[in-house]
């Protein structure tokens, strides 16, 4: 009997690229064998947050033993940026943050490179620096006095005199009037600490100029974006920079944008030998990016029936010396800034503010986690004030399918409600605090959340599949696997669509030279865009194969199909192995090659923000904590997190992402904080920037998969990895409140803060 194999979509699918990672075979940029004649690069970084500076003895450094090339901002004055060039590749006259590159050297050994840089003496003339957003907005010190001259700033709503990099606003109804008439109004400010991506693999890459092309083996999450930024900074045509993707040892957003890669390309251009650069752990923490701190000021109002009537919110982000990498986040914050609720009267303002801290880069859903940290604690407080349970109050006000949220966006069917039910059920929800020891109180909290799937302008992705006798099926993609299972997803879909064995399929390393120079792939929402490109490619490839066989067998193509790697005729029952067909060739000595490309480009006509909005991923969280009421020490005993993924194509993979997101959620809620002292990072190792270990796992962790299909996604699926973290902090904060009666409004939540709040409450002071 001929039948289609029960399909592998929605079934467990292992991570195909895991084997080489688990056997120690070369994979990451740092694993590459030293190439013949290889040089080692090192960077000299600024030690002051704001200063005019001079480099002395540069010539002595340049002529130090073993030095092949050395560049300072005097040799190469150029700017960097994807949308806004608010960074210098090498500082020319002034430094704007500690860790800003001043010089880069390539030498025969790492030691020779170090020794050369040690010859350079830097003299600083310190200038007043500003680290606090409020102080920055007063404008006594300007971070970027020449801001208006930078490429890209004309598209921003900023004001350099107040260090305002960009402002976005949204308004609906009459929030001021509605507030004045409301039954309950709650107003608070919420803050978060700056964070670091802290990938286990530090930034590193190898570059080699071959003729007039600089070839780079890098572990970026976004090779096409990096190529464009590097080429523009070095004033090269795009095809003179080539990036070849390596395994990525953790990115979380930290390896999207150009950091050291631009310097490496610049120094590699000076020599005709391969150059290797790897940051130390200390440099990784102090000289790459930070994820910015937020301050949210929120007023929210409800009527006597518990309906939300108005929200006024201002979200301020301390983006350090560069906003460029954070612009897309500001848009997401604007769209998600109400939380997933229907509120008739709204004003939201999102501000990015420059200071003399390191450049900001987004980190895995955390900007939205911080938005919900504020909104979802606020929702709990309002619920209490109107006398409703946290669950009922949220469901009463929840966004539903069909709600017209923005002029061009009507909400689709969503699993928000299931996220609430499933997560609270998982932790065995009980709304009251329970004494669980002599000084211990146990409480539970919940939070919902949503995350816009916002297509970047010019979004496109492409997949090319080639089937031939030599390599069977090779796949060329323009996205990167960063551990989220992207290659597994591609393999799974091709195996399903072509109905061929998984073992035939190999995904090639992403290489910018596999495309025409102007190709610009995006790096976000890959499941969405690559998935659709992939379906087009498989359809075309299958058409080619079946038409070829149709001619050979002299049968109509409609009789034919590919089933489990065989080409079959439903009419004549003829059967032939697809693999044999490929290996046998065309019969005239020529190899038989089928090749098809599928492309997906989002329409971004009109350019309005809500026209680029494809969907909202829904999330829900429930947490349980036990707090020592004497010491403030607390333990997270249960944490459940749900994401509406539309359709879980690889359910175990989705759950793995969910669990990872929950662990990162715990880590960023209770442990992580980048500490600065006068602009100098002091959290420069894992001792001073602790991240979650196995000791920090709750006893019970529940990943919950909710599936309300997305009609426009491949097989109804939505992306998952970025959304899994969103409500963890808020749910934990709400649980702390339930257990103790005190509310922590500043992340991270520490025992000290809980203790202090308990002390204030005992003395009858405002919490």
């Amino acid at each position: 009997m001929i039948s289609r194999k029960p399909h592998i979509i929605g079934k467990p699918f292992p991570l195909i690229e895991a084997q080489r990672k688990l056997t120690g075979r070369s994979c990451y940029a740092g694993d590459e064998k030293p190439r013949s004649g290889q040089l080692y690069a090192r960077i000299l970084f600024s030690e002051r947050p704001h200063a005019r500076f001079q480099l002395h003895h540069v010539e002595a450094a340049r002529s130090a033993p073993g030095v092949a090339a050395l560049l300072t901002g005097q040799d190469l004055a150029t700017r960097l940026g994807a949308q806004v060039e608010d960074r210098e590749l090498l500082a020319t006259a002034e430094v704007l943050y500690v860790g800003q590159p001043l010089a880069v050297v390539a030498a025969e050994t790492p030691e020779a490179a170090e020794a050369a840089l040690a010859r350079i003496q830097v003299t600083y003339e310190d200038l007043p620096a500003v680290f606090d957003i409020e102080e920055a907005l007063q404008g006594r010190v300007q971070v970027h006095p020449h801001w208006a001259t930078y490429r890209g700033t004309d598209a921003l709503q900023g004001d350099p005199r107040r260090n305002l990099a960009h402002t976005l606003r949204f308004r609906r109804g009459e929030p001021e009037d509605a507030m004045a008439r409301a039954h309950v109004v709650v107003e608070h400010a919420y803050t978060t600490a700056p964070l670091h991506h802290a990938p286990l693999e530090t930034h590193g890459a190898v570059a080699h100029r071959r003729g007039d092309q600089i070839v780079m083996w890098v572990h970026t999450q976004a090779p096409f974006l990096q190529r464009a930024v590097i080429a523009r900074a070095l004033k090269l045509p795009l095809n003179q920079v080539r990036l070849i993707g390596q395994c990525v040892g953790g990115s979380f957003g930290g390896k999207v944008h150009v950091s050291i890669e631009g310097l490496l390309a610049a120094i590699a251009r000076e020599v005709d030998r391969p150059v290797r650069l790897h940051l130390t752990r200390e440099e990784e923490f102090s000289a790459t990016f930070i994820t910015p701190a937020m301050r949210a000021r929120i007023r929210m109002a409800a009527d006597a029936q518990g309906r939300l009537v108005a929200l006024q919110a201002v979200y301020d982000w301390n983006v350090g010396a560069s906003v460029d990498l954070f612009l897309h986040q500001l848009e997401s914050v604007l769209l998600a800034g109400t939380g997933p609720y229907v509120i008739p009267n709204v004003s939201i303002e999102v501000n990015a503010i420059y200071t003399h801290l390191p450049p900001a880069a987004p980190m895995r859903g955390l900007s939205l986690a911080h938005v919900h940290w504020a909104v979802e604690q606020h929702m709990d407080e309002l619920a209490e004030r109107v006398g409703m349970s946290p669950v009922d109050f949220r469901l009463w006000n929840l966004v539903k399918g069909g709600d017209k949220l923005f002029p061009h966006f009507v909400m689709h069917a969503t699993g928000l409600e299931s996220c609430a039910w499933e997560t609270t059920k998982a932790i065995d929800w009980h709304p009251e605090a329970i004494p669980t020891g002599p000084n211990a109180m146990t409480g539970q909290g919940m939070a919902l959340g949503w995350s816009p799937i916002l297509i970047m302008p010019g979004c496109k992705n492409r997949v090319t599949i080639q089937c031939d006798g030599e390599d069977l099926c090779t796949v060329i993609v323009d996205g990167m696997d960063v551990g989220q299972g992207y290659y597994a997803f591609i393999t799974q879909l091709i195996a399903f669509e072509l109905n061929i064995p998984v073992e035939w399929i190999s995904v090639l390393p992403t290489d910018t030279d596999a495309y025409e120079p102007e190709w610009q792939a995006v790096y976000q929402n890959l499941l969405w865009s690559t998935g659709r490109a992939l379906l087009r490619a498989t359809q075309e490839l299958k058409r080619q194969v079946l038409s070829y066989v149709s001619e050979m067998w002299e049968e109509p193509v409609t009789n034919l199909d590919i089933v489990e790697g065989d080409i079959i005729s439903y009419a004549t029952r003829r059967r032939m192995s697809f693999r044999e067909l490929l290996e046998r060739g065309s019969g005239q000595g020529a190899p038989l090659v089928f090749r098809a490309t599928g492309e997906y480009a989002a329409s971004t006509d009109g350019g309005a923000l809500d026209q680029r909005l494809q969907a909202f991923a829904a999330t829900g969280y429930a947490a349980e904590v036990t707090v020592n009421m004497k010491t403030g020490h607390f333990v997270i005993t249960q944490l459940a997190g749900a994401v509406d993924v539309g359709h879980a194509l690889n359910p175990e993979g989705v759950r793995a992402q969910l669990k990872g997101g929950l662990v990162q959620g715990i880590s960023t809620t209770v442990l992580e904080k980048m500490e600065f002292e006068d602009g100098r990072p002091i959290s420069t190792d894992f001792m001073h920037y602790p991240i979650a270990t196995t000791a920090d796992l709750p006893r019970k962790l529940y990943p919950v998969v909710v599936e309300v299909p997305q009609s426009t996604g491949p097989y109804g699926a939505r992306d998952v990895s970025n959304h899994v973290i969103i409500g963890a902090a808020a749910a934990i904060g709400n649980a702390i409140y339930r257990a103790t009666g005190v509310r922590i409004r500043d992340l991270p939540i520490t025992a000290q803060k809980v203790y202090d709040a308990l002390q204030r409450a005992e003395k009858g002071q405002a919490p």
């Binding site: 895991a18 990672k21 175990e652 979650a692």
Partner: protein, 155 residues
């Protein structure tokens, strides 16, 4: 100062001369081309460079190469047989014990040491054995599960 040292690495005898300041991690990765042990921090905080030294888990970045003289060393490259993956490796693939994978070699070595002393570890024991191995992807729950399943599959 140079030292002539020898050790058994993944059941193979190795002899080489090293500078006294170099770490076992440097020598494994740069001189012997074994890049399974990863460089994550160079200060013994992250566990990405874990190897077994005479059966004990150590951070190779914290061991000077001359200290390894005469020792027996197992790195992740020595875990699989020629043909067949070690049950731990198999289990990590099947149960999503890998995300970005940078911590995986160290995790496997720490797990191997645990299974050498306890054939059927409880979850609590696994957590304790891995506390020196950081995973930024937060894959701990699946890593723990991978180890549990592998330990049950062992005869």
């Amino acid at each position: 100062m140079k030292h002539a040292i020898s050790f058994i690495l993944n059941q193979e005898e190795i002899q080489l001369t090293v500078d006294s300041h170099r770490t076992l991690l440097d020598v494994l990765r740069d001189d012997l081309g074994l890049t399974g042990a990863k460089q994550g921090c160079d200060t013994g905080e992250c566990g990405a460079c874990s190897v077994l030294l005479n059966g004990v888990v150590v951070n190779a970045c914290m061991v000077l190469a001359p200290e390894a003289d005469g020792a027996e060393i197992l790195t992740v490259e020595g875990l699989a047989d020629e043909e067949e993956l070690h049950p731990l490796q198999r289990s990590f693939i099947d149960h999503h014990g890998v995300q970005c994978g940078y911590c995986a070699p160290g995790m496997l070595i720490a797990a191997k040491a645990l299974l050498n002393r306890t054939s059927r570890p409880h979850e609590e024991e696994i957590r304790e054995a891995l506390v020196g191995n950081l995973c930024r992807c937060g894959a701990y729950p699946d890593i723990i599960k991978s180890i549990q399943v592998a330990s049950r599959a062992r005869r």
